[in-house]
Amino acid sequence: MGTVIETRNLGIGYPDHPVGRGIDLNVKQGQVLCLLGPNGGGKTTLFKTMLGLLSAQEGEVLLDGALLANLPRNEIAKRVAYVPQAHTAHFPYRVIDMVLMGRTAHLGTFAMPGPHDRARAQEALDMLGIAELAHSEYTRISGGQCQLALIARGLAQDAQTLVMDEPTASLDFGNQVLVLEQVKALSKSGLSIVLSTHDPDHAFACANKVAILADGRIAAHGPPAKTITQKRLHDIYGVRVTIEKLPGGQTVCAPSFGR
């Protein structure tokens, strides 16, 4: 299993406003890395740096062993796909067109998507079980469906790694579960996924690896069961929690209210 994405002593942020430093992470093929941490801890900045949307302030990012800083934009997009939070679009593109935009990195500068690209987009929709939405307007489907469509776009991009910025935020309970199930299924099919979340349960549910990012530094890093502990959660979030293993084998985390 090769390392698909790696950060070495990475410093993130802006020249006059550093956000974090000394970040060492790596993700291997088929792994799910879940990033936990309080708001303002630097998760989004780290993602943007891993995608080459912000330049590294120090250290480096490697994609499939190649230095990200040396890669042209479309080569980055062929290696790592960005799945933003479900957003409201400004224009009512049909879902299939939205997903087809994932094919852009594979198209010539002046080209339109062809039959092969359409087939690939349709396949991505099928995989996420939203084929019937292909001709709906993106602005008229639910938040959960938008998130699935954006994941489909990431799949159509044919990149080894998907970077998802809080894919479960702003989704209702059912859609959260749906998205997490897809994350698990995709990693089983060999894709690598980096995602951030606010809910430790989500890390238990789908991640092989957890990294806790607080104040711009990696506070802990490792398998979920060893990394997410009562003491750590108390340290980062300032609340007391209980972590329990359910009879089914799943681990959950519950705040200890009023105690």
């Binding site: 933003p84 990195a105 339109m112 001709h135």
Partner: protein
């Protein structure tokens, strides 16, 4: 498995649906083109000197009975150039509007937003103020439009750390209002009997004095602007998702936007140079086009340009026939455009898209 079979059926049905949609799109575009052509023929027959259909066809096919007839002179020297100008100006303004709205992700944006129209206006007013010949006035308008957008871009590129599109639009507003102030200054200083009416008429837009050579001069410039827009039509879709997403999808957002803005500005500035400032077309027409064919730029651009062409032809025909005196185009487009825009507003959010 019945489930898979069901899926296959569904996909089949969808593929069928998709091909019918595409077919009807092509048919729609061709039908629209035919309609605009028919309007153009109709418009060439009416006016202060009515021309019959047989006379019109005679002149168009070069088989007129008598060469140098009044009908021929009216058509070739006055009416056809003016009709062609209306079609080209309308198409260019609506096409540029569709581009600006897409890449600035704002349905309220129009070709005026980066100061193109005001800049071109300033150039032309300066030309009129200095009593220069018409061709130089047009040249000034063109240079004024391009310079303003260049200046706006330069200012925006010097401001870092903020949303680039917002900075660009704000810089456009600021530079545009500065140019507006200069125009007002020249209006105050201008000769009230000779120059001021010319300035006012130009700022309200008119095709009344279009000569054949104006039209021939502007068409190549519009084509030069149009070519990159057609070639980059898929990337313009991607840009409409915003800089960050476009870059994550593999598009050099800054560079592509620069090319696209330059192309749309060239189209706008070159037509404004012959028509004067005509508002609302670039704002309202792309909306209507998007309501009909959706936001995909591949389909949106041709439909917006055809609608723009047909619309400005209708308005210009009204302007030259409805009264003894020529009505400035900018007034008519505003009278028609403003209520429509209010209707969009009242229709609620979905109207924006």
């Amino acid at each position: 498995m019945s489930n898979t079979q069901e899926n296959d059926h569904r996909v089949d049905a969808q593929n069928k649906a998709m091909s019918t949609v595409r077919f009807s799109n092509a048919t729609f575009t061709i039908g629209l083109a035919a309609l605009v052509a028919a309007l153009a023929l109709g418009a060439s027959m009416i006016g202060a000197y009515p021309v019959s259909l047989s006379e019109l066809l005679g002149v168009l096919t070069g088989t007129a009975k008598e060469a140098g007839s009044t009908a021929e002179t009216v058509l070739l020297q006055v009416r056809l150039p003016r009709i062609t100008a209306a079609l080209v100006v309308g198409a260019a303004l609506a096409g540029a509007g569709a581009v600006y709205q897409g890449i600035f992700r704002n349905p309220l944006v129009s070709p005026d937003i980066l100061g193109v129209s005001t800049g071109a206006g300033l150039g032309a007013v300066l030309g009129i103020f200095l009593s220069l010949p018409l061709i130089i006035i047009q040249g000034f308008a063109f240079i004024g439009g391009l310079t303003t957008v260049g200046l706006v871009y330069l200012i925006a590129s010097r401001v870092h750390g903020r949303e680039p599109v917002l900075v660009l639009v704000l810089a456009g507003v600021v530079v545009g209002s500065l140019a507006g102030a200069m125009i007002s200054l020249m209006k105050v200083l201008a000769d009230p009997y000779d120059q001021l009416p010319a300035i006012t008429f130009w700022l309200l837009g008119s095709l009344a004095s279009t000569r054949p050579e104006d039209v021939l001069g502007v068409i190549p410039a519009v084509i030069v602007g149009l070519v990159p827009l057609v070639l980059l039509r898929w990337r313009i879709n991607v840009l409409s998702l915003g800089d960050e997403e476009a870059r994550a999808l593999g598009v050099e957002a800054g560079r592509v936007r620069l090319i696209v803005v330059a192309a749309a500005t060239l189209m706008t500035a070159s037509v404004v140079a012959i028509s004067g400032v005509i508002g609302w077309v670039g704002l309202v027409i792309p909306h209507i086009a998007r309501m009909i064919v959706g936001p995909n730029f591949d389909r949106l651009l041709p439909v917006a340009m055809l609608l723009g062409a047909g619309y400005l032809l209708l308005v210009d025909t009204l302007a030259r026939t409805m009264a003894q005196v020529e009505t400035p185009l900018g007034i008519l487009t505003a009278i028609l455009g403003a209520p429509f825009f209010l209707w969009l507003l009242a229709r609620g959010r979905q109207g924006w898209s």
